[in-house]
Symmetry: C2
Subunit: 327 residues, 2 copies
């Protein structure tokens, strides 16, 4: 321990070290992936698999006891570098969201980190968290949309659209693009996630679909059809009409399959879920691996069907609570 650190410890008693904890839900894209990249709306739901991040002023910058590292802790370090000028922070994370599964693990960690940093500076507000968490993701990923960070911040169900609608909560702009975020009412619902175990390569998938869309008028129409199913899904959600919502999911999946975003592993878990009686099922996120979701009121039955088909199943529900912070 250096003399400087020691003197810090003596001049500032441990009990006065500031501390904040944030709890943030994961998210799934219910409807609209790939379409959203071509101006179509997107419907996402926060799920009750959560992450917690604790930040406390200390003598050295650490994450879970290891030195803060730009490779291992990319998003946390970027958030701290961007939004913190105080003492070194000791960070501890707690996560129930499997990483690289399309469930918004990195968006949730980023959102929780930003929420802690703002809380430590007494300037927490949901919109501030959503704006700044997106800024971190955008800079680290050199692009992207504010969908995941807004869903993690707000909780419940959100609609991302290019125009302002009812239930508007905030807008976020980058370069010539503006996204309007809306928090829409949603009923209790059970969603079973099936993780294929095949890592989704988002950038490659996005490029592959983009080539198809640029080349083919048919593919461009398909992205508009995805947008149409998002609108159907939003209407179904407003009426707690799970049959229509499930249909919108399964029909969207057919389009995503045609666009080349599905995979044999995803199709297997989707078919198993539908045979087990799910209202609807589709991939979630970029596809090509990653995870699928099934809407059902028989969650363990669908979970068993997914596991029998070779996937790892997670039974989740919509999370009404977005980002929460405690000191």
């Amino acid at each position: 321990m250096s003399a400087a650190t020691n003197s810090n410890l003596f001049t500032r008693p441990a009990v006065l070290r500031m501390m904040a904890v944030a709890s943030v839900p994961g998210k799934i894209i219910l409807l609209g992936e790939h379409g959203v990249l071509y101006g179509q709306p997107c419907l996402s739901v926060a799920i009750d698999l959560r992450v917690g991040v604790e930040m406390q002023e200390g003598s050295a910058a650490t994450v879970n006891g290891r030195p803060l590292d730009s490779r291992r802790h990319t998003y946390i370090k970027h958030a701290i570098d961007k939004y913190w000028q105080g003492e070194p922070l000791e960070v501890v994370t707690y996560s129930k969201i499997p990483s690289a599964s399309g469930l918004g693990s990195s968006a949730a960690i980023t959102t929780a980190s930003v929420a802690c940093l703002l809380t430590l500076q007494q300037s927490f507000s949901p919109e501030e968290v959503a704006q700044r968490a997106f800024a971190v993701e955008y800079e680290v990923q050199r692009g992207g949309s504010p969908n995941d960070t807004s869903a993690c911040t707000q909780g419940s169900a959100i609609v991302l659209a290019r125009e302002k609608r009812d239930h508007f909560i905030w807008k976020i702009s980058r370069k010539d693009r503006t996204w309007y975020v809306h928090s829409i009412p949603a009923p209790e619902m059970d969603i079973v996630v099936g993780v294929t175990g095949v890592k989704s390569k988002t950038p490659q998938l996005v490029k592959k679909v983009r080539r198809f869309v640029n080349y083919s008028g048919f593919a461009r129409e398909l992205t508009q059809d995805i947008g149409g199913w998002v609108e159907e899904g939003i209407a179904a959600l407003a009426h707690s009409d799970f049959v229509s919502l499930g249909e919108a999911m399964t029909e969207s999946q057919k389009i995503l399959h045609t666009l080349g975003a599905s995979s044999p592993e995803l199709e297997k878990l989707i078919q198993a879920s539908l045979r087990a009686g799910a209202y609807g099922a589709k991939l979630t996120g970029a596809g090509g691996g990653g995870s699928m979701i099934a809407l059902t009121d028989e969650p363990e039955k669908v979970a068993i069907a997914i596991e029998k088909a070779g996937g790892k199943a997670l039974v989740t529900s919509i999370s009404r609570e977005g980002t929460k912070v405690w000191v």
Copy 2:
């Protein structure tokens, strides 16, 4: 494959094979362990970590693809032997309850198995499930109380008592003992479970406390004090008074510690939870290892405190839904 099996397959198409799925919550004892063995009441809560069991008529008796085995699948096999005379059953299990953690994993698997078997015979009812699931546990364990199987069957919060009270749902008798089970109203609540990783040796713990109680009038009084805190807890629950409920938990823990049911690992996680601001914390189940629980409305904050103190934390909520079955 034997000729007999083959002929079975031909005479009875696969599509007509009967199938049932049961979904069952885990449970925690909120207040009253050890006291309940001396006639005191006990308050338990079902939690939203669930197990699923699927049973389908097939050509061979299997569990998750392996032959049904009395050592590996003790409770499932006992339930099938006792309550099934039909075709061999192919059983698949799905569990989010860590085993041997005091969260009722074996009671939940037993309850789910019995619920499936009754559903296959069109004779499912919650009381029937509770009675028969207890019968299986009682025979396998050569004793015990119907607390866990009743909690798993009913969901929400239950009180086990030696006399009939308000909210009575069923009674269960063995030899000269009768337990009355009550389903009491309970608010939404978050409970963080801290698993020590040290296996709880329930029979040894129960014997150790019994020797103390038989030998000492002071220890007998302590078991009555546990009962007193259960009554306080029931009253607090009825008023959603988490401060008083937390106090009942923490005071019960002091008694359990005096009775010799705690352990250094449990104490460490309990103290960490209380320092992190939990309303109350105590061991759950027999003690001497196993798990502790903390009542809090800052669950991820307490979870991080538990993990920093060396435990494995599980954020759970009360589960309003008991056993559910689907065909």
